[in-house]
C-alpha cells in the first residue's frame, strides 16, 4: 500500500483506490490484501498478524511453492465502518492452534462496532452495527445482517437471507428488488479526502 503523501488528509488514498483512514489500526499489513476501492474508516482494526501457522501442504512437502500467507483478504468496494474489527478465526488443527484466513468478497459493508471472525463473507453483504460474527461462520452472497445480531460460530447463512437475533436466525428473504441496495459504489464516493455529496 504505497501512499501519495502529498495532501495530508484524513485518509490515505492508494493507487488502487483504497481509502484507509490514518487513525485505523492495521496490524500485520503484509498479510492483509485489499482488492481496491475499499474504505477503512478511523478506529477500524484489521488483525493481519493472526496469520495461519500450520499449512495443510507442509507435511506433503515436495513443491516449494510460496506459501500463501494472507490472513485477511478483502474484495472491492468494501466499507469498514468505525470501530469495527476483522479478525481471522482460529482453531485446533492436528493438535496445534492455528488461525485460518478470513475472506471477504466485494461490496461488503461492515457496520460500526461490528466484530467479524467469519471464515468467509460473500459479496454484497451488509453487516449491521454492533454485530458479532462468530468464528468460522460462512456468509454467502446478498445477505443482510441486522444491527446487533450475534451470528454463532460455524453458522452457514445461505444467499438472500435476512438474519437477526441473538443467536442469529434467518428471519426473512432479500426481495428481488433489494439487490441494488447492496451496491457500495456511491457510498465509496462519499468518504475520503474530498468526499462527494451523496447522489439523490
Amino acid at each position: 500500500m504505497s501512499s501519495r503523501r502529498a495532501p495530508r488528509g484524513e485518509y490515505i488514498e492508494t493507487d488502487t483506490g483504497n481509502k484507509v483512514a490514518r487513525k485505523a489500526t492495521l496490524v500485520g499489513t503484509q498479510h492483509i490484501m485489499l482488492g481496491g476501492k475499499t474504505v477503512i474508516q478511523p478506529d477500524a482494526m484489521i488483525r493481519g498478524d493472526l496469520v495461519r501457522t500450520i499449512h495443510p501442504s507442509s507435511q506433503s512437502g515436495g513443491n516449494a511453492a510460496p506459501q500463501n500467507n494472507t490472513a485477511i483478504s478483502i474484495g472491492r468496494y468494501c466499507f469498514l465502518s468505525r470501530n469495527c474489527c476483522l479478525r481471522p478465526p482460529g482453531r485446533f488443527y492436528k493438535g496445534a492452534f492455528t488461525y485460518m484466513p478470513l475472506r471477504m468478497g466485494d461490496h461488503v459493508f461492515v457496520g460500526p462496532g461490528a466484530v467479524v471472525q467469519a471464515a468467509s463473507v460473500g459479496s454484497h453483504v451488509h453487516i449491521g452495527a454492533g454485530c458479532v460474527i462468530g468464528e468460522f461462520a460462512i456468509i454467502k452472497d446478498y445477505v443482510r445482517i441486522l444491527d446487533g445480531t450475534v451470528v454463532p460460530p460455524n453458522m452457514v447463512i445461505p444467499s438472500f437471507s435476512i438474519v437477526a437475533g441473538q443467536p442469529a436466525r434467518v428471519i426473512g428473504e432479500v426481495p428481488e428488488g433489494g439487490h441494488e441496495a447492496f451496491e457500495l459504489r456511491d457510498l465509496y464516493k462519499t468518504v475520503g479526502n474530498n468526499p462527494q455529496p451523496a447522489p439523490h
Binding site: 496445534a96 462468530g134 445461505p158 426481495p175 428481488e176 441496495a181
Partner: protein, 568 residues
C-alpha cells in the same frame, strides 16, 4: 420514541383492490379521485397493512403493465437445496458441530501422549458452540463422526436404540422372532412403527376375504370400518400405491380393529404422575419453552402421545430447513416476472422484473428552512432528521422522485387535504404536477458542454433565473407550482404538513401503537410515451425513426411516513 424515525414510502399493490364496495380497504386505482375524501386510501385501515409494500418488494409485469406484490404473484419452486448439512441446536437455534466426547489431553503437558496430533477418537456428540448444549444432555452419542443423520434416526433420547422400518420388516418376516412373542410393550411403539404396524394390519385385513363378521352390522352398512372406505382412506394417506381391490368395493362387511401393539394398537397413557413428579424435581427450568417445542420436527422416533416433549431432555437436534429458489409468475397473464438460475451456487437471475426499474422511487427528507416564507416556519437551525414533529407547526418535506425509465415521465400527485384517522394533519403538495426527465446515460449528461447544460437547466426549471443545481440556495423559494430542485433524472418537490395535535379529549381511547406517526396517503399517476412495437417499457431509448408512440399510464396509491408527532 427513543430511536430516530426514518421516513418511508410504501406502495399499495392494486391486487388488493378487488372490492370497490369496501371503502375502507382503499381507493380504486382506475378512478383517481384523490380530492374526494371518501375515496381516499386510508393507510390506517386494518386491511391496508396487507397491501402496502416498500418498492423493493414489488415486481412489475411488462405485459399487464401493472405492479405485482408478493401476495399476488404465483411462485414456483425452481430448486431445493440444503444450506448446511448438519443440525440446529434445539435450545437456541445455533448450528451444531460434531465433537468428540473425550476431551483431549493438553498437548503442552509433559504427560501428553506422543500421538496427540492424531484426530480425535469417538464417541462423538453434537455440540452447540453458542449455548454449549450437547447431545449428551439428552443421552445421544455417536460412534462415527459422519453419517449423523442415519445414526440419529436409530437412537432414542437416552441412548436406547430403536429399530428402523427396514429392520422391523425383516424381524417380522423372521420366523424365529415370531415364535417367541415379545412382551407387548406399547412404549416401544413410536410414530413410524405404529404406522407401519397399522398399515400391515389393515392390508392383511383387506386381503383376507373372511373378515365379514356380523358385528357392528349397522355401522358396516354405513361404510365405516368397511374395506371400501378403508382402502379409500389408505390410498389417500399412502399415495394411492395401495391395492385397488375391485372386489372389496362390493363388500360392505365390517372388519375388526387392531388389538395389540403388533397390530398397531397404542393405548394412550393417561397417567401423568411421572411427568408431574419430574416437574416437581426439575422445576420450570427443566421444561422446554413453546418456541423450542414449535421448532421441533415431528418426532418420528419417540413414542407419541401424552407426557412427551415437555422437558428439555426430550428435545432432539433439529435438522436444518431446506431452502428453495423460486420463480414468480404474473397471476393474470402467467408470464414469468422473476426467475433465478437453477444452480444453487449462483445468485444471478435470468428474469428479474422489479418495480424499481419501472416506477419512480420516492425518497423523503425533511427540509430545514432558515427563514419562514410566509408559512410561519420558525425552525432556527437545521431540522434534526428523525426528530419528532411539533404539533400545529408547519413542517416541510422534500420528496425526490427518481425516474428509472428511459422516457420522460409526467407525474401527477394527489393527496387528501387532511390525513385520515383520528388526528387529521393538513397536507399541501406545493407542486402536484411535474415532469421528470428520462434516465439517460450518465455519460451523455457529462459530455454536454456547459452552455447547453445551462440552457437545459433553465428549461428544466421553467424559468430564467440563474439556476444552480448544486445545492439548496436562497433562490429556492417555497412557491406553489414550482419544482424545488431538479437533476438528471430526478425532481424534488416540497410538501407542507401541519401536524395535528395529539391532545386527546377526555374519554377518548388512548393513543394506539404508531398512531403518532404522520402518514400521508398519496395518489401517484405516472404518464409517459412508449414505443408501440416493443412491449418493453424501459428497454430501448427513444429513437426518432419510430414514430408510433403510445401513451402509457400507471397509477397507484402510496403512503409516505414522514415522522412522528411530538406527544405532550
Amino acid at each position: 420514541m427513543a430511536t430516530a424515525f426514518t421516513p418511508y414510502s410504501y406502495i399499495q399493490c392494486p391486487c388488493s383492490d378487488i372490492t370497490p364496495t369496501d371503502r375502507r380497504s382503499g381507493g380504486s386505482p382506475t378512478t383517481p379521485e384523490p380530492d374526494d375524501d371518501d375515496r381516499a386510501f386510508d393507510p390506517r385501515a386494518p386491511r391496508s397493512s396487507f397491501s402496502l409494500y416498500p418498492l423493493e418488494y414489488l415486481m412489475y409485469c411488462e405485459d399487464c403493465h401493472q405492479i405485482r406484490c408478493p401476495r399476488c404473484v404465483a411462485e414456483e419452486i425452481v430448486t431445493y437445496y440444503c444450506p448446511n448439512c448438519l443440525f440446529e441446536c434445539p435450545v437456541c437455534v445455533g448450528p451444531l458441530a460434531v465433537t468428540s466426547v473425550e476431551t483431549k489431553p493438553d498437548p503442552n503437558l509433559l504427560a501428553a501422549p506422543d500421538n496427540s496430533a492424531a484426530p480425535l477418537a469417538g464417541p462423538y456428540a453434537l455440540t452447540c458452540s453458542y449455548c454449549l448444549w450437547t447431545s449428551t444432555e439428552v443421552g445421544i452419542q455417536f460412534d462415527k463422526p459422519n453419517g449423523i443423520h442415519a445414526q440419529l434416526a436409530k437412537l432414542r433420547n437416552g441412548g436406547t436404540t430403536r429399530l428402523t422400518a427396514k429392520e422391523r420388516k425383516e424381524r417380522r418376516k423372521d420366523p424365529s422372532y415370531k415364535a417367541q412373542p415379545p412382551p407387548p410393550d406399547s412404549q416401544d411403539l413410536d410414530h413410524e412403527a405404529q404406522f407401519a404396524n397399522l398399515k400391515a394390519f389393515y392390508q392383511g385385513q383387506l386381503a383376507d376375504p373372511n373378515t365379514a363378521d356380523a358385528g357392528l352390522a349397522l355401522l358396516g352398512d354405513l361404510g365405516f370400518s368397511s374395506p371400501t372406505s378403508l382402502s379409500r382412506i389408505m390410498s389417500i394417506y399412502t399415495g394411492g400405491s395401495l391395492l385397488h381391490d375391485k372386489k372389496a368395493k362390493t363388500r360392505l362387511g365390517a372388519m375388526r380393529e387392531a388389538l395389540d401393539p403388533d397390530e398397531g394398537l397404542l393405548v394412550a397413557s393417561l397417567d401423568e404422575s411421572a411427568a408431574i413428579s419430574k416437574l416437581r424435581s426439575e422445576g420450570l427450568d427443566g421444561t422446554a419453552s413453546t418456541a423450542q417445542l414449535v421448532g421441533q420436527p415431528p418426532n418420528m422416533v419417540e413414542p407419541p402421545l401424552h407426557g412427551n416433549e415437555r422437558f428439555l431432555d426430550t428435545l432432539r437436534p433439529v435438522p436444518h430447513l431446506l431452502r428453495t429458489k423460486r420463480s414468480k409468475r404474473c397471476p393474470v397473464c402467467r408470464h414469468i416476472i422473476s426467475k433465478p438460475e437453477s444452480k444453487v451456487q449462483t445468485t444471478r437471475f435470468r428474469i428479474r422484473l422489479v418495480a424499481g426499474s419501472y416506477i419512480p422511487s420516492i425518497s423523503i427528507r425533511q427540509l430545514a428552512l432558515s427563514s419562514g416564507t410566509g408559512s410561519g416556519t420558525s425552525a432556527s437551525g437545521p431540522a434534526v432528521p428523525g426528530a419528532p414533529l411539533e404539533p400545529l407547526k408547519p413542517a416541510h418535506f422534500l420528496l425526490t422522485f427518481k425516474n428509472p425509465i428511459f422516457e420522460t415521465i409526467k407525474v401527477t400527485l394527489g393527496a387528501p387535504a387532511t390525513t385520515p384517522g383520528r388526528f387529521a394533519s393538513r397536507v399541501t403538495v406545493l407542486c402536484p404536477e411535474f415532469e421528470v426527465d428520462a434516465n439517460t446515460d450518465v455519460w451523455d449528461e457529462a459530455l454536454k458542454n456547459n452552455a447547453e447544460r445551462d440552457r437545459e437547466l433553465r428549461r428544466r426549471r421553467g424559468e430564467s433565473v440563474s439556476a444552480n443545481s448544486g445545492g439548496i440556495s436562497s433562490a429556492n423559494q417555497l412557491e406553489v407550482g414550482k419544482i424545488w430542485e431538479r437533476g438528471r433524472n430526478w425532481v424534488s418537490i416540497v410538501v407542507e404538513v401541519v401536524p395535528a395535535s395529539l391532545a386527546l379529549a377526555p374519554g377518548n381511547p388512548p393513543l394506539r401503537e404508531d398512531e403518532d406517526v404522520l402518514e400521508i396517503p398519496m395518489f401517484v399517476r405516472v404518464e409517459w410515451e412508449a414505443e408501440m412495437a416493443g412491449d418493453e417499457v424501459g428497454a430501448a431509448p427513444s429513437r426518432s425513426n419510430s414514430e408510433a408512440r403510445e401513451k402509457r399510464e400507471l397509477a397507484y396509491w402510496c403512503v409516505l411516513g414522514v415522522g412522528r408527532i411530538r406527544q405532550r
